[in-house]
């Protein structure tokens, strides 16, 4: 009996998590609980989370602030839209092919951009996104220019197609969960640790066998792949795209999402993307003042919790554990942490 008890005791957290997640999966996506509008906002939040998960790797772990997310999303969205509308491909193969070619493209861009350091890199990534936006707006024959592309098919395999936002939620739920687990896996693997070293002091990292340049390029490629995947999902979800959402100021929103959520934790990125998609909708009733409050809100939140919501939670937990330590008398030399 105690073996099962120790099993439960050991990963109590994962069990609670699994139970709560299954509850969410079955309760949330039906008409009674949530109307179509809120469902759409949550879906958008999950799609943005996929892109922000990429930022978790490059900014959260690697410490490189990049504005290229919107550009990569634009490439992903337009290649899916063109493959499905012009070439008549099914959504899934189109999604896979566009993620593939954008990943290869970001290898090339990563190699070029990471010759630069710090603010130079950030600014070059702004240039990158603006370049892509200008091409998308002006290449009339291919992208249809500012009028965009209509009638992108719904996400689905064969006849199993997502009819409404509730079906989309069920698919996006698993996609978001998969991205969450992948990013957590990276964080625990050698790549995560290497990125941590590169973020905090590149010289020390070089002396510990970490090729800083190559590691940063890998993180850029991962971020590119996530962003392209999110772009494809955005196209299949909105079913109409134009160049406007893939501009520089949308990239800024993604940075705000991860910084507010908590730059050191993937859960924080999820909270950040849901919160920042939900906030403008929630303060919609303020009409003319909504974006003013939105901007001031970002400043206040950055001042109150520079490390984001999860930063606050971690500090709180860290202090709480310290207190627990104090009143515990004996201390084993090295206690194996979870």
């Amino acid at each position: 009996m105690d073996k099962a008890k120790s099993f439960v005791q050991k990963n109590l957290g994962t069990i609670i998590g699994a139970v709560v997640l299954t509850l969410v999966f079955f309760i949330v996506p039906n008409k009674g609980v949530v109307n179509a509008y809120i469902m759409k906002v949550i879906n958008l939040g999950l799609i943005y989370f996929v892109a922000v998960a990429g930022l978790c790797v490059i900014l959260g772990m690697g410490g490189q602030p990049t504005f290229s997310t919107a550009g990569m999303m634009g490439l992903g969205a337009y290649s899916v839209a063109l493959l499905t509308t012009l070439k008549g491909w099914a959504p899934i193969p189109a999604l896979l092919v566009s993620v593939l070619w954008v990943t290869l493209f970001s290898v090339v861009m990563g190699l070029a951009l990471f010759r630069l350091k710090g603010s130079y890199f950030s600014f070059a990534s702004i240039g990158f996104t603006s370049l892509i936006f200008t091409v998308l707006t002006n290449w009339l024959s291919l992208t249809g220019g500012p009028d965009g592309i209509k009638n992108i098919p719904r996400l689905g395999i064969g006849n199993l197609v997502c009819q409404n936002y509730y079906d989309y939620f069920r698919v996006l739920f698993f996609i978001a969960l998969a991205c969450y687990l992948i990013v957590q896996r990276i964080r625990k693997s050698y790549l995560g640790r290497a990125l941590g070293c590169v973020r905090d002091n590149e010289i020390a990292a070089q002396c510990m066998g970490i090729n800083a340049y190559r590691t940063k390029v890998i993180s850029f490629v991962i971020a590119g792949a996530f962003a392209a995947f999110a772009g494809g999902l955005y196209a299949l979800h909105e079913r109409y795209i134009s160049p406007a959402p893939f501009q520089y100021d949308q990239s800024a929103i993604y940075l705000i999402m991860i910084m507010l959520g908590g730059v050191n934790s993937t859960g924080g990125a999820l909270i950040g993307s849901l919160f920042m998609t939900w906030l403008p909708e929630r303060i919609r009733f303020l009409a003319a003042y909504s974006r003013l409050i939105y901007g001031i809100g970002v400043i206040i939140l950055m001042n109150v919790m520079p490390m984001g919501i999860m930063g606050l939670v971690d500090n709180f937990r860290y202090k709480m554990r310290k207190k627990m330590k104090k009143n515990q008398s004996a201390e084993t030399p090295v206690k194996e942490a979870e």
Binding site: Y37, I38, V41, D147, Y240, A244, A287, R317
Partner: protein
Amino acid sequence: MKKAISIILVCFMIFGLAACGNGGNEPAEQGTIKIAVIDAFTGDKAVNGQYSKEGIELALAEINEKGVLGRQVELIYEDGQGKETETTNAYQKVISEHELDAVILDKYSSDVLAVEQFVKENGLPTFCQGSSIKIEASDTSNLYSTRRSDAGAGGSVVAFIKEQGLKKVAILHSPDALGQSMGQVVVDGLTKAGIEVVSDQQFANEDQNFTNYIAKVLASGCDCFVAIAQTTHSAQIMIAAQEAGLSQGENAITCIGNSAFVQQSSIQNALEASNNWYACTAFSPTISMEPTASWIKKYNDTYGRLPDMTSACMYDSLKMLANAMETAGTTDPAKVNEALHAMTDYRGVVASYGYQGTPMLSKAEYVCHIEDQKSIVLQIVYAE
């Protein structure tokens, strides 16, 4: 333990989101007639939201004096910021939170095209002010626009140039949907008419300084300059043209603009630089023909400034909707759509409207000429 807490927190977040915000839906047929208005009330294009709100409020006041079918009309404003994602979000919110009878959208074609899929699904009569050719080609039967398509507007520009007997034309157009589609129509029309297009330039959204573009137009040795832009840039183009001696002075040439050039906001900013410009427009604040002139006076008295085309279009949209509901005798969407399809000659403030098989209802346009900051109507161009 660390992982558990973050997952739980995440789920509460989703729950928190879901629980709030599914408002109740009142039953249809009694109560007020609910019409949603989605436009850019914040962000870079907020100037349009302001003009359209003022225009539609005027119409609301007039309609609610005697009501429609004995019921009052209620407008529900939602902010789309002139961007597609926000506009689709606003549309979804208003559709799922209210029992609507009709929807009125803004003048940005990409916004209208973004929500077109939902408009087709719910069948509500939907007005917009977009003029893109893609809207004209749309097969959504319950979508209407108070504008002529860019093809129409472009056509009247070409007709005017042919009539003036000009030979070499230089074109400068904006990078957005209006600029690109209307620009293309004008270029095709001119080449078909055998008139030489000496230069076709497109400026960038962030551009503030147009001196170089105008310099290239001067260097192209053209005898006619066509400019297509939104109101945000039209004033600056007129100022640059005046400085270069293109529109005024001894070797000035004919300068023709699209509707934005003759709107109140551009003339007000360009001041004397707007003189001597021609424009093909659906609306101009100094038209002397009834019923437009008295409406303009009423707008000026209420708001202390002259109306923009957006305000006039929004006014017409609401009035036409109310008229259609009156003729149909019900607010049932299918019947209202039928009434709108049957409409042949409705005299609005902007133009006379009639259903011609495409969403584009407007049947006429004016060619105006600006003299000491007033636009005088030269001729009316009817849709062929």
